[in-house]
Symmetry: C2
Subunit: 338 residues, 2 copies
């Protein structure tokens, strides 16, 4: 009996030791295996690995306590594609078509008329005003729970027109590896996106492992109302916060209240977020994803209307930030690649 | 050598086993020990223990996955005292006195004049307008980092006038036990307070173990500006969000994006938060702290100008929410009690 118990404790002890080590020393647990297999072994990958080693090594002068290991990721163009148009806008266009039977007036009323006629050129030519009208019509006027459900329903089935794959299959495998690597290294990972917080939260936990409370985005106002005896939050047709450019550090401060030590973006809309991260003391990682692969994904930068990366490239060069060349640095972009 | 190693593994195994159990089975780890020793064994304590058992027991029909175990706590009057006036306002008054030498005009200008003369009756009689002027003067016009530091400096030394103890010593021991018990049971604990988010965040992690990113509060607007080459967030004299009453579910939705399954308050300002938690499905815990102990703390409710609890008492009675009678339910309030 006694030796039996001893054996059991020994065996448990060993298993537990392994599990426990994996918990306490995640980076060490990865030793020997590559945490970033979709990244080719260039400078970008080395910079990431070096940074994580420095801030997690207690002996390093760059050591950062786990509570302060905040990493912020833009979403569109950084964690998933954003061409030929922002996926959230694809959702809005599909919603216009679904809602059209209840809105016969839309048949005569731009921009809804042009959406229903499939004339995307005119829709986009309508500029911000038209886009805002489409967003307001499709993103407000319902409860937060109803909107959640509309997003969930759409994201479960809608397909990207080029790849005929779910939009959530159009996320970047190397970036998901990076999120997981940072999480395993004690980081709290956040999305800080110009996109709508309400559009992202229903699926980011399943897709990226990032829970709704770690998502920062642009916001329509919500207001508490009573539906009979039940309180509901109604989405109002008023954009109360734009989480882009100068708004990103504001959104980070509102939601996190700490300065990120690592920030990841792909466009000039992320520049202030990277500058905000860079302005803290100590070792920092600022990284731009540069869309350079027109075969596997898209190639665009300084002159693109979507995801323009112009000042960001200059700032990266001037400050020695990491610029990921998707074509060269990533051996895989999407999980559906052969 | 071999037996040495064996012994080492065995010993490590046992230690690790204990540590690991404490991590994986925190509730079980507490079995036999009382997680709420400052709570007398009345109905309130039993309701809390029963609720936590139900939502954490996988066999229970009320089981809730850890990700959804969200608990929200009001701060003033719920986690610490709020008499004879909100501690944040005590900070503001002290700041007025500190800032006065740079503002000679204040000597002739109410409400600053009355503050500097120590005429608190007139300050409070000045109503919301005067209070807002004092808050604006002391809470805005500086960078977020400067304000953080001002709060940290004050909270480290300022003493409560009645007890001559640090304000952070005036937190309620039973509520700290409750926070720790919920955390150990897989809950994520949040502060959702009418107080300023900027005033709370600098110390909530040290005092309650609640990190800045889990604090929701009222907010002054912030704006990104450049100080030379350095981006800073300047606190603007515009209150952009009031996290009180109808604002609390809005703040919860903004920051958390999930509905709490447990909500704790002490005043009518928390009523909508408790209603919002209650309106979700499944087992829920709504709890009011009722200030009934004029000897050890204060006794006030329906007619108090600070922390009025009137509708909340009626709603609690109607809905069977827990009402904590501080005098009867808590055998200890502050840690400095003999």
């Amino acid at each position: 009996m006694k030796s039996h118990l001893k054996l059991k404790i020994k065996t448990n002890g060993l298993i537990v030791l392994c599990l426990f080590s994996a918990f306490l020393f995640p980076a060490a647990g990865l030793a020997g295996s590559d945490p970033l297999p979709s990244w080719n072994g260039g400078a970008a990958k080395q910079r990431i690995l070096g940074f994580v080693k420095n801030v997690t090594d207690k002996q390093s002068k760059s050591y950062v306590v786990p509570e302060e290991r905040i990493a912020t990721f833009d979403n569109d163009g950084t964690l998933w594609s954003e061409q030929p148009l922002y996926f959230q806008f694809a959702f809005a266009l599909d919603r216009v078509k679904e809602m059209a039977p209840e809105h016969p007036e839309w048949n005569a009323q731009p921009p809804f008329k042009t959406v229903l006629e499939g004339d995307m050129k005119s829709v986009l030519a309508g500029g911000e005003k038209g886009i805002f009208e489409i967003l307001t019509a499709t993103h407000t006027g319902m409860t937060t729970a109803e909107f959640d459900q509309q997003v969930k329903t759409w994201i479960a089935v809608a397909k990207h027109p080029r790849f005929n794959k779910l939009y959530t299959d159009c996320i970047f495998v190397p970036m998901l590896e990076l999120i997981n690597y940072l999480k395993a290294s004690g980081f709290k990972t956040w999305i800080v996106s110009g996109g709508s917080i309400g559009f992202m939260r229903p699926w980011t936990e399943d897709v990226y492992g990032i829970p709704p409370e770690q998502v920062v985005g642009s916001r329509f106002e919500t207001k508490l109302e009573m539906k009979g005896q039940t309180p509901v939050l109604m989405r109002q047709p008023k954009l109360e916060f734009i989480d882009d450019k100068e708004g990103k550090p504001v959104g980070i401060h509102q939601h996190i209240g700490r300065r990120p030590i690592a920030a990841f973006g792909n466009s000039d809309g992320d520049l202030q977020m990277l500058q905000w991260a860079a302005a803290g003391g100590g070792d920092r990682l600022m990284l731009y994803v540069h869309h350079t692969d027109e075969i596997r994904e898209w190639a665009y930068d300084r002159n693109s209307s979507i995801g323009r990366l112009d000042k960001g490239l200059d700032e990266s060069a001037a400050n020695g930030w990491v610029v990921v060349d998707m074509k060269k640095d990533w051996n895989r972009i999407y999980k559906f690649e052969p």
